[in-house]
Symmetry: C2
């Protein structure tokens, strides 16, 4: 079975230096502003990104704790499978958040709605394209009626 | 700078054995049925996934060609930055598609709307959660008014 090495293409700078300070999933709960720094060798790849209002950031949960395949989440105390959740402690440690793109200054994107730790390694950016990504018929699954709640001390 | 090794957690079985046969972005252009096989050691992580109608598949473009930071896409002949596009030939080779979850049979998910090559290595699954992912205000960027078109022979 193949495996593959991932190399960060940049860093996400956010106001959040501890896990307890991090909000959960951007546009829903955070209006925090962040700077997405793309390393200079990848800067050309940003051409035309400023035509989009929203972008996916893919990044590494580089400070995640132990992986559990079934666990409680930030939304309720019922255990859910890691693939039915966005929890950071997951195999391959890849995070995904949609943020609002405010502006671009060369290799820096100013974005709204960050929910990751400061200096999180960025591995990809994809445009949010409504005809692919805006799914009116999607159901809320087990998250229906659940709301984000403040994390108790010590929760990760 | 850290780097990280990605290990596939499964395989995506689709009807598409050549790049020319692949549609572009699922729910938009494909009603093809696929089987997402999750390796047995990760099966527990699927608990409650069947409560969602749509899921993100993250996978490796394991048969992608040379990376170009600015290139033409499947939507038009203007060159766009790779981060303003979903093109497969990109740094870190991670693909993302939203598919409709039809059913689950133990470690196999039956899904509709696959657009990747047969036996594509799966690296993560995340639920599509409307309150995070359904962004009514998102603009179409440079893709506005563009439609998918058949790939000319030899295009990748």
């Amino acid at each position: 079975m193949m495996d593959m090495k991932i190399n960060p293409i940049g860093l996400i700078h956010t106001p959040f230096t501890t896990k307890d300070a991090c909000p959960m999933q951007p546009l829903y709960s955070s209006s925090a502003i962040g700077q997405v720094e793309i390393f200079k060798e990848y800067e050309n790849g940003l051409k035309d990104i400023e035509t989009f209002s929203n972008i996916y950031l893919l990044y590494l949960f580089d400070r995640a704790s132990e992986i559990e395949m079934v666990r409680k989440t930030f939304l309720d105390d019922e255990p859910h499978g890691i693939y039915a959740s966005r929890h950071p402690c997951r195999p391959n440690s890849i995070g995904m958040s949609i943020v609002r793109l405010i502006s671009r200054e060369n290799n820096i994107l100013i974005v709204e709605g960050v929910d990751m730790l400061d200096k999180t390694p960025l591995i990809d950016i994809k445009p949010y394209i409504p005809k692919f990504d805006l799914i009116e018929s999607a159901t809320e699954g087990w998250t229906a009626g659940k709301n984000w709640r403040p994390k108790p001390a010590g929760r990760e």
